[in-house]
């Protein structure tokens, strides 16, 4: 780039529960400044007032300016985590690994942890991993998979979205990482967590599905998971299903127009079934009649590249406890500006 200066700026207000904030900056960024207008105007001891990041600083780092006492004096500190993370969401962006001390198995799997920084119930998606040094048995059917966080207890436990059956996770330690961005293209294939049979069929995915009413899907269910009658075959004329409703509160739940009353019960994979293939749904098109009758656009099935360049503003870390991160605290009003340099040198 042969120009320099501010290329973009904006404002956002944090929700009543603060979450890490992704700011899209399509042309890239060399320097970013965030002002916490609420905290700057206040005099809360430890409150962060402004944040600065410049290309070359460590990932998830940056500088924080804050009130060191209950007045409006300022001090500065370096953030080791919970700061600025430059991302290209063409690749799925995940956070740092956090230790899982043990796992309580059940239809609702519970990760017993010591830190839940950045976890927001019903919003955060976590990926469970087993890096070297962790003792969880091989082949557990939650490793490498993404799950929506159903609920959490601060710095104690994280409960994942409910599964059809207990995956029988054994004893051992693991790690989780917060998943900040989704795969690049929409609509997305998803892993199935549960299926409730009936005259219409309710499908639960492990992460928010993102589908809309009218979209057509097909199922891919291995024999180990039951309900293979949903799979497309020559006998059922390559069965596909139309999404007829989306749950407004449970973002993992949708209903399709298939009568599955007499089908085999669905089950989630267990470690005893290893190796297995995960049950999945795949969006394949649009039932335009259903979409129109529900006032939904008829091109919702179009393949759209949702990848963006941008910056993740973190929530701070234990090292900056009370000072928060550049995403601010609950209900804070935040102003940001992104800069581009004519030249960048780093020695």
């Amino acid at each position: 780039m042969s120009f320099g200066g501010i290329i973009s700026q904006g404002k956002f207000t944090q929700a009543s529960t603060a979450v890490a904030k992704f700011v899209a900056i399509p042309s890239g960024v060399d320097r970013m400044e965030v002002i916490n207008y609420t905290a700057s105007d206040g005099s809360t001891s430890g409150a962060g007032t402004s944040y600065l990041w410049q290309r070359g600083m460590a990932t998830d780092g940056g500088l924080i300016y804050y009130h060191p006492a209950g007045d409006q004096t300022l001090a500065v500190d370096a953030m080791s985590s919970g700061g600025f993370t430059l991302v290209d969401s063409e690749s799925v962006v995940v956070g740092a690994g956090v230790n899982v001390n043990s796992i309580t198995s059940g239809t609702s799997v519970v990760l017993n942890v010591s830190s839940t920084v950045g976890i927001v119930d019903g919003v955060s998606v976590v990926r469970v991993l087993k890096p070297s040094g962790k003792t969880l048995a091989d082949g557990e059917p939650i490793i490498g998979q993404d799950f929506l966080v159903a609920s959490s207890v601060a710095n104690t436990s994280i409960t994942l979205v409910a599964l059809a059956t207990d995956p029988a996770i054994g004893a051992g330690t693991a790690q989780y990482k917060i998943v900040y961005t989704d795969t690049a293209f929409y609509p997305r294939s998803r892993v199935i967590a549960d299926i409730t049979a009936g005259t219409t069929t309710a499908v639960y995915t492990t992460v928010p599905h993102g589908l809309t009413v009218g979209q057509e899907i097909r199922f891919s269910i291995p024999s180990t998971s039951g309900m293979v009658q949903l799979n497309p075959t020559t006998e059922n004329l390559y069965l596909s299903a139309t999404v007829i409703s989306i749950d407004s509160t449970d973002l993992t739940l949708f209903t399709v127009d298939i009568d599955s009353s007499s089908f085999t019960a669905f089950s989630y994979p267990t470690s005893a079934q290893d190796p297995f293939s995960f049950p999945r749904i795949t969006p394949i098109g649009e039932n335009t009649a259903t979409a129109i009758s529900n006032n939904v656009g008829i091109s919702k099935d179009a393949k759209v590249n949702t990848a963006q360049l941008g910056m993740i503003l973190g929530l701070g870390s234990d090292a900056t406890a009370g000072k928060k991160g550049p995403a601010g605290a609950a209900n804070n009003v935040m102003y940001w500006s992104a800069w581009k340099a004519a030249n960048v040198t780093q020695e």
């Binding site: 063409e90 799925v92 490498g144 795969t183 293939s277 999945r280």
Partner: protein, 213 residues
């Protein structure tokens, strides 16, 4: 001279970006099946002949047409005929596992050199496999925390690119006269718009696999 050299490199960059966009679209939106017949103890396992056969059977059952015609046998030492085949594209990191597949026929054993494509590695049953260093992979995504690779196995006209009027690839060059009074820098680049689509989801499968070792 320098401009021409840059144009050549930009051409590679542009086409490779197009490939990556199609790759990412397929990876995200396709139905995928995990390899389960391998023996590495991971989930998914490494690719095995059973997984290849299952994928081929699925495509045949779904009435997908093969892309490549058969290569008839010839009386040449060490060669073998090649069946009409679907196309599989996968990351080059799994080459060792491909070559360990029983019945794998490397392209240098095809009866005629001209019938093999530059990036092709070989054939197994009704599948001809192409490898690339930018084949799709997901780090730390298997049950043993290993990288998972996706092989896209496609029949004829399973996926395509929609060309958009007025949005074809453009090479851009802005001379130094436009950079300021001192005329110190020029601008070189390319831009394009691209739309990818799966034409029939039944005719293409993503086969998830890990490496054996």
């Amino acid at each position: 001279m320098v401009l021409n050299a840059f144009a050549l490199r930009f051409g590679v960059s542009l086409r490779q970006t197009e490939d990556q966009l199609v790759r990412d679209m397929l990876a995200t939106t396709l139905s995928s099946v995990d390899c389960t017949d391998g023996i590495n103890g991971d989930m998914p396992t490494e690719i095995s002949i059973g997984d290849v056969s299952d994928a081929i059977s699925t495509l045949v059952n779904n009435n997908a047409w093969t892309i490549e015609s058969r290569i008839t046998g010839e009386n040449k030492f060490g060669t073998a005929p090649v069946r009409d085949a679907y196309i599989g594209i996968v990351n080059s990191n799994v080459i060792k596992d491909l070559e360990n597949l029983p019945e794998f026929n490397p392209k240098w054993n095809y009866p005629r050199d001209n019938d093999a494509h530059p990036s092709e590695w070989g054939a197994v049953r009704n599948l001809r496999v192409f490898v690339t260093s930018i084949g799709y992979s997901m780090a730390q995504a298997s049950a043993l925390n290993a990288t998972v690779y996706k092989m896209f196995i496609a029949g004829l006209e399973a996926a395509g690119i929609v060309k958009q009027a007025g949005a074809t690839a453009q090479f851009l060059y802005r001379p130094r006269e436009f950079s300021g009074a001192l005329m110190q820098s020029v601008t070189l680049g390319w831009k394009m718009a691209s739309a990818q689509v799966v034409l029939d989801d039944l005719w293409v499968i993503a086969l998830n696999m890990t490496k054996k070792a």
